[in-house]
Symmetry: C2
Subunit: 147 residues, 2 copies
Amino acid sequence: MKRNDFSQWDCSLARTVDIIGDWWTPLILRDAARGVTTFEDFHQSLGVSRNTLTQRLNRLVEHGMLEKTLYSDRPKRYRYVMTAQGVDFVPVLMAMAAWGDKWIADTAPPFRVRHKTCGAEATARVVCACCEAPLALSDLEPLDEAA
Amino acid sequence: MKRNDFSQWDCSLARTVDIIGDWWTPLILRDAARGVTTFEDFHQSLGVSRNTLTQRLNRLVEHGMLEKTLYSDRPKRYRYVMTAQGVDFVPVLMAMAAWGDKWIADTAPPFRVRHKTCGAEATARVVCACCEAPLALSDLEPLDEAA
DNA sequence: CGACTCAGTTCAAAAGGTGAACTGACAATT
DNA sequence: AATTGTCAGTTCACCTTTTGAACTGAGTCG
């Protein structure tokens, strides 16, 4: 069996993982996508320690996934809202969840969302942007580059 | 603006994150997809401490992402190979990388792979499995369930 | 006035990650 | 026969991160 050798397959993934590569961050983003915005709500929803939550939220703001806005001046109240960049990450989260549904048997209910466009329940699938066929490792080979 | 409320959007993501939710694991999987199989090669490629690498590999084996096989009895040599479950996760990694390419400007080169099916460079896109339209947060709404 | 809410900060203890050195089985070289 | 090298880890001492719980502080409500 031929071994793949994607020697150029670098960095984009690492940089992404650098932002979202821990237990909490993806879940914070899923909550944000669900409409959670305040510090207290994230804390309640996830059970993450407030200390860590502060760090994660700041990190996400720093990296442009969330925007922190003051929605009440007196008393000072903040809201964390997804940026376009954050919103664009949601399908990736859905792809992860779809994979989880498929492979990790569990009694816990899968997340269920309706796709307004087609009316059916949305399930994520990762396809080639060019030919729209589902991407699979077996259909990939290294792309040689000049220089 | 209407706030989404995906109260059912739970668990599948959390369970997935439970397996791959740290800095190293996704990169180990990317290496595995590239054809890296031995302990030493993972170690060299990633620069992760051997200690941590041992734990991560064991964890991935435990969770059915990799299979550990003895390919030489004398001396004892092991190989970590992706299972079907692991292979099926690769498109998710590609979706992450595609997002990284789009949003995280950096001098580092993106990973580049050819899609044999269409001959073009493969770029991941997440679509609805039902209608094949790209998934976007704005097209989603909670799915109400009986009971 | 006292109780409550939000959005954190502070602190000690526990857990997890790091690099560097070590083990042990074998193979190849001198 | 002795030394060096490779693979696949383990061990250890150190450092950073996470955790939980308590505390702060600004302001509101009754």
